[in-house]
């Protein structure tokens, strides 16, 4: 009698919550990956029945929150440094780290002018917006690109730094800076003539690593999400949303 009732209850729960025994996970995600993460959610939830909730923030801030015990099960950073550090400090599960996306850098002028490779050399904007190279990988890549193009001297004094690429994008979009380096993920849906995709050879790769946090070690939903992130469906979405794909599991470079 009791058993029967219990079984009914289980059945009810199963019906309510989808195909498998669905779990629920909270994932900390770097701001630049916002759109892609949302696009991934639908596919992930449909496929696994798990539910995933994101907290978006700057990588450094998210890391600080995690180190203070914030309730995240996984961490999708904008760089490799913070996930590595999380592993070293025991905040993340050793061996769980992998590169989920490679950032692609573009030169962008806010749909006011076509932008090409030569735009930087031919026009001389007063202000060139970049993400803060000290804190944001896209910013560092932007500096490396300028150096590789031999334009670092020219622009050194004209750089304005946003905290992250999102802010660099705002500076350009509001017209306060004429040009700037932002992420392809921010502009991939705009006209291809509006931006110039910087060849990956001009800067060190912008590898974005994900890691399973200690807190999420036993969370099936979290593990499922990280697995899903490496699968073909997710890779297709990530690629469509303005990222290059990592070549192999384990990170493009452990710098």
């Amino acid at each position: 009698m009791l058993m029967l009732r219990f079984a009914k209850l289980l059945l009810l729960l199963a019906l309510l919550s989808g195909p498998a025994f669905a779990g629920d996970t909270r994932v900390a995600v770097a701001t630049n990956f916002t759109h892609a993460a949302r696009a991934l959610t639908t596919a992930f939830e449909r496929e696994t029945g798990h539910r995933v909730r994101f907290s978006f923030g700057a990588t450094g801030q998210l890391y600080a929150q995690i180190s203070q015990g914030a309730p995240f099960d996984a961490f999708l950073a904008a760089d490799q440094v913070r996930p590595q550090r999380a592993e070293v400090e025991g905040l993340a599960v050793r061996g769980s780290r992998f590169t989920y996306a490679m950032g692609a850098l573009v030169l962008y002028g806010g749909n006011k002018r076509p932008v090409q490779e030569g735009t930087l050399a031919t026009t001389a904007p007063d202000r060139l917006a970049i993400a803060n190279p000290a804190t944001a990988p896209y910013g560092a890549a932007a500096l490396e690109t300028l150096a590789a193009m031999g334009l670092l001297e020219t622009y050194q004094e004209r750089l304005v730094r946003g905290t992250n690429v999102a802010q660099a994008y705002q500076f350009i979009a509001t017209g306060n800076a004429e040009l700037g380096f932002v992420a392809l993920a921010q502009v991939f849906d705009q006209a291809p003539t509006d931006y110039w995709l910087v060849p990956a050879t001009l800067h060190r790769p912008i590898a974005q690593d994900a890691v399973l946090l200690t807190r999420g070690e036993t969370n099936d939903a979290a593990r499922a999400f990280l697995t899903f992130l490496q699968g073909p469906e997710a890779r297709a979405i990530i690629s469509r949303m303005g990222y290059h794909l990592p070549t192999a599991k384990g990170g493009a470079s452990d710098g």
Binding site: G60, D126, N132, L159, T163, T174, G175
Partner: protein, 229 residues
């Protein structure tokens, strides 16, 4: 390395806060006076606008400022007068942002102080031959002195502590827009904890001293009222 120059942000911040406070006293005083004494039905609406920065997230304010300072806004028009494109990423732009952001912190205490004076001292001055302008300077301003002190100190320290707006319109340029709070943020972000500690602890001590000084001085500066015999 530029990034480790801790004196530049300190001096820049002091300069920004001083200039901002000066401007705030000049424009905040007439606003506070009007808010305290006007019978206009728009009074509370204006008061609400002045108070907006208290409740708006700095990012909202920063975003609108970014648009206003840019080439399509009034800031860009001003900038174009001297051949620039935008007031963003300039010291002047930061001053404009700080003035707006700290306005309620200056206007509110001065308004309260003006209101606390009441009609009587001004009426007395009028019957003694003082014109409205004369009454304002010889009676209202001296009697509102504690409010001016509070307003100036709050305006100054709020500008020192301002972060969100500066981050959004500053562009983090050493010597021009990299103020103390942004520098601290960068040091924390880049795990440069030694200079971060130095600046943060300095700011903490500074803030304590400011609040302590205001509280002490305000008590001393408050005029004793006549009491009934």
């Amino acid at each position: 390395m530029d990034d480790l120059n801790i004196w530049s942000p300190i001096l820049l911040t002091a300069k920004l806060a001083s200039v901002t406070t000066l401007i705030l006293m000049v424009i905040g005083t007439p606003i506070a006076w009007w808010l305290a004494r006007s019978g206009s039905r728009f009074r509370e609406a204006v008061a609400a606008v002045v108070a907006l920065p208290l409740v708006l997230p700095p990012t909202v304010l920063g975003f609108y400022l970014l648009m206003a300072l840019g080439p399509d806004g009034p800031g860009g028009m001003i900038a174009s007068l001297y051949g620039a494109r935008s007031l963003a990423f300039t010291f002047e732009g930061l001053v404009i942002g700080s003035v707006i952001y700290s306005l309620p912190f200056v206007v509110q205490p001065i308004r309260n102080a003006f209101e606390a004076i009441g009609d009587r001292p001004l009426e007395v001055a009028a019957t003694l031959g003082a014109s409205p302008w004369d009454r304002f300077w010889s009676v209202a301003v001296p009697l509102a002195r504690p409010g001016f002190l509070t307003g100036a100190v709050l305006g100054f320290s709020h500008t020192v502590g301002e972060f969100g707006v500066v981050l959004m319109i500053g562009g983090n340029i050493l010597g021009e827009t990299r103020v103390l709070s942004v520098a601290i943020y960068d040091y924390v972000e880049t795990l440069n904890w030694a200079p971060a500690h130095m600046l943060a602890a300095g700011l903490l001590v500074f803030s304590f001293l400011v609040i302590f000084t205001v509280m002490t001085l305000e008590k001393r500066w408050r005029f004793k009222r006549e009491d009934r015999p």
